[in-house]
């Protein structure tokens, strides 16, 4: 999937969900920090303001002027919140009565009404940033009402500390949200893609020649894909069927003239006088035989391929089938004085499968055995039950396998190294193997003890 550089759907979906989660987490972090930061500032300002008011409340006017009794508890509240340093200044018309006289007044002039409650500003004082609360109170000093300005300032280390703590917590929350979203996105990607995976599995599980249309339940979004797939399968099946019909027709049209050629050639051979003419006629007959055999095996193969798509599921009595085939092959085997001995065919051995396919497979096995048998030998045709399988064994006394491996011999058009002059197309064993596979069985070739080949065809018992 990644071969062409494209991301898989799953990766694509997960990536998008993760990016979304990351953006959300960052936004959350920023929001939490801003809100918590301003909340902390408000809280601290509230305390600072309260301290200022407390100082202002202690202002007393007298004959000699303004006096103040500094409320230490107000400062200790400030101190309890953080380790910050506190400065204060009480001034009348810019002249300091008590406190730090270099603590700067607000830059802009404020109206007395505005200053009746504390207002806050941030400024530089003694190389550090301080938060200042300022308010005015009018007291009677002498007989004059005097506006007294009260300033209380505090360094901002405490607030920075709170802000840092809040930022840490916000980052923690952001990361937590991101992790949770990541887990959810993986789960979501999985569940969204599950129908696709199920469909893929259902199609992938099929046998190599299973050409039924796909009717696996799938979500509406996948319908067009499934429909397209089914259309393709239908075209493929029609193509295969046409091929089979074509091969059957072709075989028919080839065989009749071949039969004429063969009969003529045999007659001519009987009458031929010179050895040269006889040799030619023999070659003609051999060629006819070869093409006829190829034609019938191509037809068998096409039938097998077509039918193993939907093999019939009927009960087949292997014993009857094997006995019938033995009888059918005996006259041909007899031409070489080869005897076919059957075993295990007296009692029925039932399997479930396609009778025509099994017949084609066993016929090809027997045909091979007869073809490769030495004259005056015997072929053992043994039907047996082994476990939950039936086994048909065809053992000949021919030239054996010459060490050729089975996978090579069951390949299409492959033939053994020692076939010599025996006519064959190389399709026979392919047919047998395909039939075995279509029935959930298997096909094996082995050397027979004492010489020859042993072919084993296994099918599960019905």
């Amino acid at each position: 999937m990644r071969d062409n550089g494209a991301l898989s759907l799953r990766e694509r979906l997960m990536l998008q969900l993760l990016v979304l989660a990351a953006v959300l987490a960052v936004a959350l972090f920023v929001a939490v920090r801003t809100v918590a930061g301003s909340a902390a500032e408000e809280t601290l300002d509230g305390v600072l303001g309260a301290a200022t008011i407390a100082v202002a409340d202690e202002l007393r006017g007298g004959e000699e002027g303004v006096s103040v009794d500094l409320p230490h508890e107000a400062f200790s509240i400030l101190g309890s919140i953080s380790e910050d340093r506190i400065f204060y200044r009480i001034a009348v018309d810019g002249a300091t009565i008590t406190g730090y006289d270099d603590l700067p007044l607000p830059e802009a002039a404020r109206s007395p009404a505005e200053l009746s409650t504390p207002i806050f500003y941030t400024t530089q004082y003694r190389d550090t940033e301080v938060r200042v609360a300022v308010m005015q109170r009018v007291v009677l000093a002498g007989r004059l009402s005097t506006a007294v300005t009260v300033l209380v300032a505090q360094t901002r280390a405490g607030q920075a500390e709170i802000a840092a703590r809040v930022a840490n917590q916000a980052a923690g929350i952001g990361l937590g949200v991101f992790a949770l979203a990541a887990v959810l996105s993986i789960l979501t990607a999985g569940s969204v893609l599950r129908p696709i995976n199920r469909l893929a599995e259902a199609v992938g599980r099929r046998g190599p020649s299973d050409l039924r249309s796909v009717d696996h339940p799938s979500p509406a979004e996948l319908r067009p894909l499934v429909d397209a797939l089914n259309g393709f399968i239908a075209r493929l099946r029609a193509g295969l069927m046409r091929t089979e019909t074509f091969i059957a027709e072709a075989a028919h049209h080839i065989r009749t003239p071949l039969a004429t050629v063969r009969a003529r050639a045999e007659t001519a051979l009987r009458k031929a006088e010179t050895e040269e003419a006889r040799e030619t006629l023999r070659a003609v007959i051999r060629a006819v035989e070869e093409s006829a055999r190829s034609a019938s095996q191509l037809l068998d193969h096409a039938t097998v391929v077509y039918r193993s798509d939907r093999p019939e599921r009927e009960s087949v009595d292997l014993a009857r089938l094997v006995a019938g085939l033995a009888q059918n092959f005996q006259p041909v085997a007899g031409l070489k004085d080869v005897e076919i001995h059957t075993e295990g065919v007296t009692a029925p051995v039932e399997v479930v499968g396609d009778r025509l396919l099994i017949e084609a497979a066993l016929r090809n096995m027997l045909d091979n055995a007869v073809k490769y048998s030495s004259p005056d030998s015997e072929i053992a045709l043994v039907l047996s039950r082994k476990g939950d399988e039936a086994c048909v064994e065809v053992a000949d006394r021919g030239r054996g396998l010459s060490g050729g491996a089975q996978p090579d011999l069951t390949r299409r058009f492959a033939r053994g190294a020692n076939v010599g002059d025996v006519v064959g197309s190389g399709l026979g064993l392919t047919i047998v193997e395909e039939v075995a596979a279509a029935h959930g069985g298997r096909f094996e070739l082995a050397e027979r003890k004492g010489g020859g080949t042993c072919a084993l065809f296994w099918v599960p018992l019905g």
């Binding site: 059957a248 075989a251 028919h252 065989r255 009749t256 003239p257 071949l258 039969a259 004429t260 050629v261 063969r262 009969a263 003529r264 045999e266 007659t267 051979l269 009987r270 050895e275 006889r278 023999r282 007959i285 051999r286 006819v288 035989e289 006829a292 034609a295 019938s296 037809l299 068998d300 039938t303 019938g324 059918n328 005996q330 006259p331 041909v332 007899g334 031409l335 070489k336 004085d337 009778r355 025509l356 396919l357 017949e359 084609a360 016929r363 073809k371 004259p375 005056d376 002059d421 025996v422 006519v423």
Partner: protein, 221 residues
């Protein structure tokens, strides 16, 4: 033997009939199912060779009609289709055997013999020569009251020689008839079977003479 061949291709019918006549068989040919019915009502046949695709119907329907009417002349189907389903079908419908075109005449003969043997057919096939009685159907040779079994190739060799006593058959002629064309055998392979047949013929007064440089012939003393 007397054959009825039901086959619509003239070319094929002629060549098969000619080839069968070479072996001394009588062959009538019908090119349609109705013609076949006519032939069957006019003469007895030992065997019917039936093609499946005929101008006036499917050979299978003929097969069914014959069996339903209890006319049990052995029928061997010759099919060009060779589809698996065809083979299985015709046997179910009552054919005795089937052959796919093109066929080996040795195989046809072997199948005819097997069918007739199963049916317990024609006894007039017994032949007498010198001091033996030969039944090709049962592959038996009776010499002085003693039955001897012949193997297939011995039997066919004897048939060939017996068809023309005193005629010289070359080794290559005999090989062509005894061995399949699909196997290449040296002409000397025939010696094995001549030797075996000589042994079976011992005491019958029949001899297989070796004619140096020419071949073999069957003679009676």
């Amino acid at each position: 033997m007397r054959f009825l061949m039901i086959e619509d291709s003239d070319e094929l019918a002629h060549s098969v009939a000619e080839r069968l006549r070479l072996d001394g068989h009588a062959v009538d040919r019908a090119c349609s199912l109705s013609e076949a019915e006519d032939c069957l009502s006019a003469a007895p046949y030992d065997l019917i060779l039936l093609d499946l695709s005929l101008p006036d119907g499917d050979g299978r329907s003929f097969l069914t009609r014959q069996r339903r009417a209890r006319r049990d002349v052995p029928i061997i189907v010759m099919t060009a289709r060779a589809a698996v389903s065809d083979r299985v079908d015709v046997l179910d419908l009552g054919a005795d055997d089937y052959l796919t075109k093109p066929f080996d005449f040795a195989e046809l003969e072997a199948r005819c013999r097997a069918v007739l043997r199963r049916r317990g057919g024609a006894s007039e096939t017994v032949q007498r020569f010198a001091g033996f009685i030969f039944n090709p159907l049962t592959a038996q040779l009776v010499v002085a009251g003693e039955a001897r079994e012949l193997r297939n190739r011995e039997l066919r060799l004897l048939e060939i020689l017996l068809a023309a006593p005193d005629r010289i058959f070359s080794k290559s002629q005999l090989c062509d008839r005894l061995f399949s064309y699909a196997e290449s055998v040296s002409d000397n392979a025939i010696e094995v079977y001549v030797a075996r047949l000589r042994k079976k013929l011992e005491g019958s007064g029949a001899h297989i003479d070796t004619v140096r440089g020419m071949g073999y012939r069957l003679t009676a003393t």
